[in-house]
Symmetry: C2
Subunit: 414 residues, 2 copies
């Protein structure tokens, strides 16, 4: 695809320059961009309105329209986010390890940018500024490919940012937006191996699957969260209730929200009469296993597929388990390796759960909702990795870097 | 593919148990395997002979036959290698970071196994024991898929190792060998997403390309090395000669061997008359650029493709460059991100080269041949990563691990 080859070559060229830019130069650019975004609010809103109107005429849901919509306040928030990334420490150039060998070679492992990052995302224009800022601060060139629903908004944001990029004499390929938004352009970006070092999808399960199946560029899977909370027999019932209600209902559409509740059979008779009305009061639709259905015959039995499903809505599956082992086994089978929690007073069960549950983030007595770059104190987040290679859990600036060995000799041969 | 689904499920099940095995249990198994390999030498050699005879009747080259051949001494070396891996520190369970948040959450980032690792390799049976030992020590289950040329040798080695695995009560899925060695079985392993966490190819450029193109499991690219040595104008000529001859001729078939020599034009008239006869004396075939051809008209001009090529033989391409910038630009264009060296007396040129050359290992005044897990002091090596995601450069035990966040709360909700 011609557009991608041109943008890829420019990005690759830019990445060499970005890799050696000083922290202060990068910060200055980020602060200028934040300023310009606010100054150009009117223009950005006018372009965003085109997307909103097109969305309406295509019968886009209210939820999607809300994600797509920009406002004065949202643009200020976007700009504020870009400024905050300027305030984060620059990871590039850090010496991570340093050692010498018996032959006198001095070896330093230093942090370097990944190079050129491709990001494929859906209808949220805030990602455009946010992802760019994180990539720039970590010394990477970026090629963005947003959804067609937000193309006018994205073009407007990118043109404002590119003006600042050129004003500060950063190379043209620092930031590119793929303007062709058909499916083929996403696939072409995933296979742009000549220029891209990594591809990161940010979006729903369908997008992630497409990247896994089609990408030849190394990819980082993000975001799918079929998260469980296991209420052990020694759990504090009030704490368990608060955690379950928070994890399920505080923001049901996000990946760290709870989807399934596992209850130890010895506490089920005490806990279910507390949690079921509490969930119902919050309009949560409840599915159960056979045992739950035996106790509450109005609760429908979940299908095998539903135990695997990330509902992303006010819906929960409840299962009664024999013991912590069965809870762990169920999670390792049906979970998505994202965030899993145990509520317990037993150190032994907590330790077992922490050790044996295979997930990016495993909690004792806390809500799964904390799996997030800001909540972890990373100051930003490009996504939450649910794979084990490269990065696992919330990915901040450091996860957008690679390393390189610098070796100092005085004539050593082998 | 039925065989892979069965082996995948067993490996996945085993990985949960392996992840919590103690260091001493793993070491005991490794030492038992080392012992058994030596004890069963006669059986292994008899099976290896079948591969050798088949290779001969298929007109396999002497080089390949040599890689395939086992001897008493080679089996002792393999066993010794397995023992040495038992002596390395266990990376699993290490707390890499520990921090607390204002809300009281205590977050620990700990090292965990990757889970199930698939390894696809070619005709070297030593990889069978070596790769298994590294994967086991880092708590991973492994599925090996070796080349068809070595299938009898691999089956013999695996059966000896599996006997020890069962004797020590390790789970059956700890180690599996794919017995079907057609192309389809390699492709099926690369797409076994349900069970595999990562796939690592060890072999030539064709295998690596096939993995990049076909794998849906996260992969680590290893091994292709189109390595350059750049002799700067301030280089010590004797040192430069020693490094070039060592890097090119000490073992031309390996990935950290030199393939190209770049010479600053100001030193060319002094250095070429030294290095060209020295290379010729070692039977190295020389290609050049136009400028080299102008000076030595018997030296053929390399094609554009040859500047990209990893010769893996006694062949070298020599190019005269204007300055360090041009050397860096050439390397970043034609190199394979593996190992690159500058020979110089200038701190400034050294720093520029170290900073701007995009490769896993960048050397000042040393041979590229040191890019190796043993030479770096890692005690072993599963391969040399030439990608930027997850691991870069020699991969030892630590590079066969992932991380996981363990979060301790007392009822925190968001």
């Amino acid at each position: 695809m011609e557009e991608l080859n041109i943008k890829g070559a420019l990005a690759k060229k830019a990445s060499v320059i970005l890799g050696v830019k000083s922290e202060s130069e990068k910060n200055e650019l980020l602060r200028l961009i934040a300023k310009r975004l606010v100054e150009k609010t009117e223009y950005i809103l006018a372009e965003n309105l085109k997307d909103i109107e097109k969305g309406k005429s295509n019968n886009m849901s209210d939820g999607l329209l809300d994600r797509l919509r920009l406002t004065d306040a949202r643009i200020r928030d976007i700009a504020e986010g870009v400024s905050q990334i300027a305030d984060l420490p620059d990871p590039i150039g850090q010496v991570i390890e340093e050692f010498s060998r018996p032959n006198g070679l001095e070896i330093k492992k230093v942090r370097v940018p990944l190079g050129v990052i491709g990001i494929i995302y859906e209808a949220r224009p805030n990602v455009t500024a946010d992802a760019f800022a994180l990539c720039l601060k970590s010394g990477n060139a970026v090629i963005l490919r947003g959804g067609k629903e937000a193309i006018n908004s994205n073009k407007a944001l990118v043109s404002v940012m590119k003006e600042a990029i050129s004003e500060m004499n950063f190379p043209e390929g620092t930031l590119s937006l793929v303007e062709n938004t058909d499916r083929e352009s996403a696939k072409a970006l995933m296979t742009l191996n000549e220029y891209l070092d990594v591809i990161i999808p940010r979006g729903g399960a369908g997008l992630i699957r497409s990247v896994v199946e089609n990408a030849t560029v190394p990819a980082i899977q993000t975001g799918t969260g079929n998260c469980h909370i296991y209420v052990d027999k020694t759990a504090d019932i009030e704490m368990a209730k608060n955690i379950v209600i928070n994890a399920k209902t505080s923001r049901p559409s996000v990946c760290n929200a709870e989807e399934k509740l596992l209850v130890h059979r010895d506490i089920a008779k005490d806990f279910l009469p507390v949690i079921i009305p509490a969930l119902t009061e919050k309009d949560v639709e409840i599915l159960g296993d056979e045992k739950v259905n035996d106790l509450y015959n109005y609760i429908k039995i979940a299908t095998n597929e539903e135990w695997y499903e990330e509902f992303l809505s006010l819906k929960i599956g409840i299962k009664i388990v024999e013991n912590t082992e069965e809870a762990i086994e169920h999670i390792n089978k049906y979970g998505s390796l994202h965030s899993e929690a145990i509520v317990t007073s037993s150190q032994e069960d907590a330790d077992k759960f922490l050790k044996e549950v295979d997930a990016a983030a495993v909690y004792v007595n806390a809500s799964t909702r904390f799996t997030d770059g800001f909540e972890f104190g990373f100051g930003g987040e490009i996504g939450i990795s649910t794979q084990k290679l490269h990065a696992r859990g919330p990915m901040g600036l450091r996860e957008l870097t690679s390393t390189k060995y610098r070796i100092y000799g005085n004539g050593q041969i082998r």
